[in-house]
Symmetry: C3
């Protein structure tokens, strides 16, 4: 008997068995999504987004609607947040609607776990990104994408490059990939964009992009998180592209079968050249599609029941 | 035979019999909400909100979706309102969609009644707050909450405290509680926040909070409606809390079984202390939940049919 | 055998036979809309609006929901567009959700056709207005409205008046009415508002409104598109109304049975007097209602199947 998963705020909350279960369910959903349509008919999901989002918000919204759920979207514009209400009080208001799921994105680290402590039984909290701390559904979809392409991950050398310091994707995805047993994780970033703490899983650090690429099977690119940078100069786009942009020339320095990921939104001509983003070694569009399947799987798994069969 | 209720713009529009019918239906919905799910399947509700809202907009949206309705949300951002269209013309556009319900919140008093005069048969108008005039669904949910807790209301002494002058909740809720026969209504507010006209039902007025509290069974707190105040100084939050904040010390001056209501959003440490808002005498969370049931009941009642059984 | 219609970006994309088929289906939907409810149950429509809209966005949303579809709305506020993502990349993100329809409004001419070149099979692109170029569903609903009122269009003399230069409605509607065989198209506008190119179908041009009206069976009014005007003075509203406002006096110069159209939103007292907009010769409200039926018909037609029966 396994404990059921009630919330999903951080990949660390899950046992390795639960993570494998989630990924296996996501594989099944990806193989035949329509087999799961309407499985959660009549349930209610609230998207509570305190930061801008297209792909994550829409992905949860479509996932939930495909599963037959009611969806209510709340952004910061036009809401009581403008009247000075605290997050806790907004949450209590939403909790009173007896939602099955509250999906939260918030600039403050720890927000989703905080809401877990307030949630009533029957309401599942999902973290859609909190500060620079975690974005665990992105980690799941990245892992799913790599499993689909490579099968076994244990032989992979992965380079994560760019603004790692301000990236919640970096923290979540690398922690998960480490647990899934990848061979080597390399961080490649200018000094200002290296993480200052021990929070990002890695084996080696490079401050020259080219030097990090030898033998790399996967390059995970990150955009500059301008909205989270303070007290640092934002580099000139042209300079940054020259030193830290993933171009076809740079990609050729990696292993021949190397694949490229990016959590999006991408800034073409800055951290990535269009020829790479749209090229044959890019898995970026597959990532977005897997984002939908991963979120469908997560909703099914948290709601329990036979269809989840974890 | 009673006349059916077609619109709900003001509690004064309803006979006392209709109000009791609405409250009884709301009690039944609260007791078993899922018995009413999908009862209005395929109907269309348009939320037309010209002012910020979370709890009211979401409450109507969830109520409608639980009942099986289609919901379309319209705010002032990103709409034709920006192109200089009048409210009447926006309404005619929406009327052409043949909605079953239009729920309107607007800064101008009388807007909902105005739309009633334009509405085609089959379209029900609901007032979700117009200026400082009325917020009748809040009045219903307040009454429902007090009925659930106290049963008979006729023995109650109720204190409403805070920015009564700019509050549509004060006007609607006190008018309804008066009709439901409460024993005594006291207003307690600093001079600037007392209503200047005869529009707010009451028996006694106090300009010192402590003096108003003796024997009070219910205290209804109001936040300072900063967005509607002009030509007045907004008090310092600390000063206001000292003189007009509901603290545990103040609450102890009321009757022992006294209960606290607040329409939300609450400003903690200003008009109410957290220890009161979250304490055992608070009914605030119950109010929010009842908001959902009240709105489900109202939609059922306006749409007629056996399930409404008023 | 006719080729099926896959996208709807411009009325020129359609054969005359296809246009007649669309209009006939729209007539059938208008006659009995509920016969088509739920016909596209479970399909997904994404409203991607980069410009403000109420009537068009809501019209597509209601049309889709009446047909049983899931609807996801995306505006520019609160989306990844704020993070510098290109339109193409936003579209690829949305394409990954496997929508059946993407309805796009965008300030740049050619956007909808551009997305057609990127769309996967099974995703239908609909132009809800691109720059000053086209607004083809408005053209359809205008044609439907005139067919309902006049039956055969071949004898009609039509005057389009106002800010023709900045109007995508002018381009689309007049092109379609020309193909449907109207007798004469007259443009009436101050010199600054006449189209500078040969893109707007017409027979005669007038720079005095009164002179254009003799024998007119239809007057199509346009508002001043302030949001698209640069390098021109926007006329004073009073002066403009005197010279270019459609008043009852001016309307009396046209044929006795003359009917008035306006795509909305209308600016009362500027390009049109309220007595005309709300008067017996106005078809403006019928246009809005037909907008809903036209879009239901278009969604049915693009999705194929027997119910479309084109």
């Amino acid at each position: 008997m396994k404990a059921a998963l009630s919330h999903f705020t951080h990949t660390d909350d899950c046992s390795t068995e639960q993570l494998h279960g989630l990924l296996q369910l996501a594989q099944r959903v990806a193989a035949d999504p329509s087999a799961y349509y309407q499985k959660l008919s009549g349930q209610l999901l609230i998207n509570l987004f305190y930061e801008a989002s297209t792909r994550t918000r829409v992905s949860f919204e479509v996932a939930a609607k495909r599963l037959g759920m009611h969806v209510v979207n709340i952004g910061t514009a036009g809401s009581s947040i403008e009247k000075g209400e605290t997050l806790h009080d907004t949450f209590f208001t939403l909790q009173a609607m007896q939602p099955d799921f509250v999906v939260v994105r918030h600039p403050v680290e720890g927000t989703a776990r905080d809401l877990v402590s307030l949630a009533e039984p029957g309401t599942h909290i999902i973290n859609a990104g909190d500060g620079t701390a975690a974005h665990p559904t992105q980690a799941l979809l990245d892992a799913l994408t790599l499993q689909q392409h490579f099968g076994d991950l244990s032989g992979l050398t992965i380079v994560m490059a760019g603004d790692i310091r301000h990236s919640r994707v970096a923290r979540s995805s690398l922690a998960l990939l480490r647990r899934l047993g990848v061979k080597e994780i390399r961080l490649a970033a200018p000094a200002d964009f290296l993480p200052g703490e021990q929070t990002v899983a890695h084996d080696r650090v490079f401050t020259e992009f080219d030097q990090a690429l030898e033998g790399a099977n996967v390059i995970m690119m990150l955009r500059i998180q301008k909205e989270r940078i303070s007290g640092l100069n934002i580099p000139d786009a042209g300079d940054y592209h020259r030193d830290w942009g993933l171009t076809p020339q740079r990609l050729a320095l990696a292993a021949p079968e190397c694949r490229v990921l990016h959590p999006g939104p991408i800034n073409r001509g800055v951290e990535i050249a269009s020829a790479v983003a749209d090229g044959p070694q890019s898995l970026i569009r597959l990532q977005v599609r897997n984002g939908l399947y991963t979120r469908m799987a997560l909703l099914l798994a948290l709601s329990g029941g036979n269809h989840a069969a974890m």
